[in-house]
């Protein structure tokens, strides 16, 4: 009965749970094939840092794809902004608190240009951002022409991509464990359980269908264990990294905006049916501007994360980021037909893609097979999306 229930829930909500299952399976396989190296604290910590600059791009890309557009320029735009940030610090003497707003501002400006071309001039986003791809690629080479790779020496800046959040001093209790990370993890689990209980109660009051009690408990236990395990792993190493903290904050903000605000509703409405949205009094142009400007700002953030992680700006920074971000969004359940997709899904999608890379690297698999494997996963994700959608009809 219990297992029948599980099977039934999985079948009904396969679209929602699919990517979590995929991530779980991939992690389990790599844990076995690498004799546990994959799941080691050190590797998980690294994984979270590697996923950072792709995850923030994937979050922005989610909204772009939801409103039925695409942005190919994000990779080299990140690289370009990262280069400007490095140059600003090293040669112009900008302090870190000026560099970050500069990077985000440049991103918003770049996004505004794409927004203008797409919303006002009505150029297909594919073409407008392909032009951006070329232009930013050239721009990176141009600004780094005289200096070559620019090393960033600001320790605070470099900590963004490599450092960890501070901990309370060791007072003999739980030595070697990152206590703040542990506390944050516990708070997250408690907050999650309470908000789930609250929303379940709310739904029941309105007479909506809710998960059967055993399934509900199973879901709570499962997610608590996953969060608990990650917390345990991280606190046993160096604790939560700044990158992970930033990614979590970005995802939380975007999740809130997309699910709870009028703006978020308007974005999904424009994606679901642009004509109906326009005739319902939604300013489709404004929404388009917002989505591309947010994408630009996240490119700025991604550029900072990547430059900081490498402690330098290089002429090849940003190569293929756009494809990783697009792939992460699709793997995460964004629909190619528009109007459907969650930013949390795209975060999971990014984790899937990075786990694949990391796991195959640990196994020493040749890069040629890695590309083929990633391509196969991407195709499978989109096939899954199309098949489950047509079946639902």
């Amino acid at each position: 009965m219990f297992f029948n229930n599980i099977a039934k829930q999985l079948k009904q909500n396969i679209r929602d749970y699919g990517m979590y299952i995929v991530l779980f399976v991939i992690m389990a396989i790599f844990t076995i094939t690498t004799n546990g190296t994959f799941i080691s604290s050190r590797n998980i910590s690294n994984l979270m840092d590697q996923v950072g600059y792709i995850a923030v791009l994937a979050v922005g890309m989610t909204l772009v794809i939801v409103i039925r557009h695409i942005d190919l320029s994000v990779g080299f735009l990140s690289g370009f902004i990262g280069a400007i940030a490095a140059i600003a610090m090293k040669y112009w003497g900008f302090p870190i608190y000026a560099v970050i707003p500069l990077a985000l501002g440049l991103g918003v400006l770049a996004g505004g240009i794409v927004g203008f071309l797409v919303a006002e001039v009505q150029i297909p986003a594919f073409v407008a951002t392909l032009a951006g791809w070329l232009i930013y690629r050239g721009a990176i080479l141009l600004v780094l022409m005289s200096t070559g790779t620019v090393i960033t020496s600001d320790s605070a800046f470099n900590a963004i991509g490599n450092g960890f959040i501070p901990d309370i001093p060791d007072f003999g209790f739980l030595p070697g464990v990152h206590k703040i990370t542990l506390v944050l993890g516990v708070i997250a689990i408690i907050w999650f359980i309470f908000s789930e209980l609250g929303s379940r109660k709310n739904k029941q009051e309105y007479g909506f269908e809710v998960l059967p009690m055993d399934m509900f408990v199973l879901k709570l236990v499962f997610i608590s264990i996953v969060v608990g395990l990650i917390t345990y792993e991280l606190s046993g190493y160096n604790g939560m990294s700044w990158t992970l903290a930033i990614v979590l904050v970005v995802v939380l903000i975007y999740d809130f905006v997309t699910n709870r605000t009028v703006l978020g509703r308007h974005i999904y409405a424009v994606g679901g049916n642009p004509e109906a949205a326009a005739l319902s009094g939604i300013d489709v142009k404004k929404v388009t501007y917002f989505v591309f400007c947010s994408m630009g700002a996240l490119c700025g953030l991604s550029g900072i994360l990547f430059t900081s992680r490498l402690r330098s700006a290089t002429p090849t920074a940003g190569t293929l980021f756009e494809l990783d971000a697009i792939a992460a969004a699709y793997v995460g359940g964004v629909s190619a037909a528009g109007g459907v997709g969650k930013v949390t899904g795209s975060l999971i999608g990014a984790l899937v893609m990075i786990s694949l890379t990391s796991g195959m690297n640990l196994m020493g698999i040749d890069i040629s097979y890695q590309y083929i494997a990633r391509g196969t996963i991407l195709a499978a994700a989109v096939i899954f999306d199309v098949v489950t959608r047509t079946r639902a009809k």
């Binding site: 709310n202 309105y206 007479g207 909506f208 269908e209 709870r260 605000t261 009028v262 703006l263 978020g264 509703r265 308007h266 999904y268 409405a269 679901g272 049916n273 004509e275 109906a276 949205a277 326009a278 005739l279 319902s280 009094g281 939604i282 300013d283 109007g339 459907v340 009809k393």
Partner: protein, 507 residues
């Protein structure tokens, strides 16, 4: 009467919930021009789709005998091979291709495995001569006017050695000169032995050209008339077209109309740059508080364009004229402005541009007025949303298991109610309903009518655009008739009859 080239016998075609064709018989004699007339929804287009194989053999019952043989067309290319060609209202040419490429598209002239372009151009020239079109075959189709494009379509049909040419409303997009030209061409084709079926709303042109006329109504053949025996006159045609009974399916009229004019439109003209045509010419009308004003007219007469041009001009028409909403001169650049001024527009095509099918009932209901249930900084109150959606679910009797059901899972009638709920939630003073009961069953229709009655009693004003004359007569207090982008007439309900309206609408 000579031998029939085409005989359709006892054709029955059903769609879920609707019998579109109910035992239709249709006979066309060789070498004649046969006109097919009837109101919107009478079944003309469905009949032609059955004939051309769009609805393949087996999806309908009855027999098609063409050229002496029983035909079982599985698709359009089957019927084309047999010698039947249809030219639709929306032209099926490829604008970026040249005239000669278009004429032989799909049946290219070949030399071995390659296209023989020299022969194609030569033959295209001959075809153009047949349709008396004096242009260079190498011109691109997009550079031609609509009238000439139509002739290219006919040339394309002739190049396939067509025996039966079917034209669906060919003159609806043409000016008078082009229309006359086209009718002359049909006459000369008749002399060359091409049989022609013409579907048309313009009764004058039907009377001018037809040898025989068949009238359809509600999916049935009503009568076939012989023009050479003087059986075809405008009055006879209209009588057969509208003979539908007005059943007592309308709520009692208890409207309290005040003298206050809430909407007045003066000298309103609109030009659509995307198709390069004047779509509205000097439209004048007004709507009083608590009144239902019917806008009757045929499809394509400009009623929807009128509504869209007033409601924020989403399609970027070039507009001249003045509009007064509640006494204040207004010009809406965006639907948003119109909504704020108290105007709501329930679109004709609820699936295409009315609802967001992949979202649930509550999200659709609140979409046009989200700020009402959101905090000042724009955070939506989910509980308030559910409450609002549930209120409309019960007051409009929307049949859905819950307001979290996706709209795509609802029936047409319930989708229409969701669409209506969305616009009632913006609390408008003037509600424009575009074909409010299209494609929904009788029970749901009555419910929509009852809701409309209730709303005007509460002081709302309603503009109802409808192609269904019984509905216009049953619900309106006053009627405007729209034809070719102009107001062809206005009449209070007491003076209105189906015949009078049809006469003005088909002028």
């Amino acid at each position: 009467m000579s031998t029939p080239i085409l005989e359709m016998k006892n054709i029955v075609k059903e769609f879920p919930g609707v019998k579109a064709l109910n035992n239709v018989s249709f006979q066309v004699a060789e070498g004649e021009i046969h006109c097919l007339v009837g109101e919107n929804g009478a079944g003309k287009s469905t009949l032609m789709k059955v004939l051309s194989g769009v609805y393949p053999h087996g999806s309908y019952t009855g027999d098609i005998v063409f050229g002496g043989n029983v035909q079982k067309f599985r698709n359009i290319s089957d019927s084309e091979k047999a010698g039947i060609a249809i030219i639709y209202q929306e032209l099926a040419l490829i604008p970026e291709m040249t005239v000669y490429e278009n004429i032989f598209l799909g049946h290219e002239l070949k030399k071995g495995y390659l296209v023989d372009w020299d022969e194609t151009i030569k033959r295209a020239g001959e075809m153009l001569k047949k349709v008396r079109l004096n242009i260079n075959p190498a011109e691109k189709v997009k550079d031609l006017g609509v009238g000439k494009q139509q002739l290219v379509e006919i040339a394309k049909a002739l190049s396939k050695e067509v025996k039966l040419l079917i034209l669906d409303e060919p003159t609806s997009a043409l000016n008078e000169g082009d229309s006359e030209n086209l009718l002359n061409l049909l006459r000369s084709l008749r002399e060359n032995g091409v049989t022609c079926v013409l579907i048309s709303h313009k009764l004058k042109e039907v009377i001018e050209i037809a040898d025989t006329v068949t009238v359809l109504r509600d999916g049935q053949t009503i009568v076939t008339l012989d023009a050479h025996k003087g059986e075809v006159t405008e009055n006879i045609l209209i009588k057969h077209m509208v003979g539908r009974e007005i059943n007592n399916i309308y709520p009692p009229r208890e409207h309290k109309i005040s003298d206050e004019i809430v909407l007045e439109v003066k000298n309103w003209s609109a030009y659509d740059p995307s198709i390069g045509r004047q779509i509205l010419k000097d439209v004048n009308f007004n709507v009083k508080k608590g009144e239902i004003v019917g806008f009757a007219g045929l499809m394509g007469s400009g009623r929807t364009e009128l509504a869209l041009s007033m409601f924020g001009n989403h399609d970027n028409y070039r507009i001249q004229g003045e509009m007064f909403v509640k006494g204040k001169k207004q010009h809406f650049n965006l639907p948003e402005n119109a909504i704020h001024a108290g105007v709501a527009y329930v679109t004709e095509d609820r699936k295409g541009d009315g609802l967001i099918l992949i979202q649930d009932v509550k999200q659709n209901v609140t979409l046009a007025n989200l700020m009402e249930i959101a905090s000042n900084v724009g955070v939506v109150d989910d509980n308030a949303e559910v409450k609002v959606a549930n209120e409309y679910k019960s007051s409009l009797n929307i049949k859905t298991p819950s307001v979290e059901q996706k709209v795509s899972n609802l029936s047409g009638g319930n989708q229409q109610k969701v669409s209506l709920a969305k616009w009632l939630f913006v609390k408008p003073d003037i509600l424009i309903l575009d074909e409010p009961t299209r494609g929904i069953d009788v029970g749901a229709k009555y419910e929509i009518y009852t809701i409309m009655s209730r709303l005007v009693q509460q002081g709302m004003s309603i503009i109802m655009i409808s192609s269904e004359l019984p509905e216009v007569l049953g619900m309106s207090d006053r009627i405007y008739i729209v034809s070719s982008g102009k107001i062809a007439g206005e009449m209070p309900i007491a003076e209105a009859t189906q015949e009078k309206i049809m006469k003005l609408a088909t002028d």
